[in-house]
Symmetry: C2
Amino acid sequence: MNIQFKKGVLEICVLSVLAHKDCYGYELVGEISKRIDISEGTIYPLLHRLKDEGYVTTYLQESAGGPSRKYYRLTEAGRNEEHEQKEEWMRFAASVNALLEGKNDAAD
Amino acid sequence: MNIQFKKGVLEICVLSVLAHKDCYGYELVGEISKRIDISEGTIYPLLHRLKDEGYVTTYLQESAGGPSRKYYRLTEAGRNEEHEQKEEWMRFAASVNALLEGKNDAAD
DNA sequence: ACACAGTATCTTGCAGTGCAAGGTACTAAC
DNA sequence: GTTAGTACCTTGCACTGCAAGATACTGTGT
């Protein structure tokens, strides 16, 4: 898969998954990997960015067969950001599709 | 507009416009800017990459009111690449949309 | 006891790409 | 001769995904 396509899109993907349920990092990789190839080295720095920006909070929870899990939960700011980025993605994807289909008129 | 969204997408946008007609760089900026904000500092290095990779050839043509224009024309390899990248984009966009809509089953 | 696989977190350094900023040069208009 | 528009190009920065590796806990097999 084209790596470049993912740039910036993974952030809204993570926000979107977290909008449905709290997740820990390892789980997020699994969820998103169903659709888009992604590695752990990408998710963890991204989650730390989101925390620094105030879009998520974290809490620890013990796990049955392994080390403790750090869950990530969207904040109010995170939900707003999720909403805005989702709309921006939709607009962007529509623009690209229009270009690829050769529609010259920017009106539609 | 989110800069990161554009990564890798501009290449297929350029290929797609060139698939419809030959263009010179300055013209491409205008065509694509109707849909997606883009600057000259992005287009020229990208066009040189495409030429290095053998996806386009160039020819000069005089202009009425200004310097000569360097037109870019897709090669056969360029047309194949355009086709493949277009399909990859479609698949990718569908995957992202499915993720954002919270569809958990990777089957669709 | 020991090795190994699976789970789970994290960091470092590299690579690709868009862009701001700047430079060059031609023509036309004022 | 100065400005605006067209047209080309380069340099260095910023952002982000990823490979690779480090750490550590649990359970299974030998």
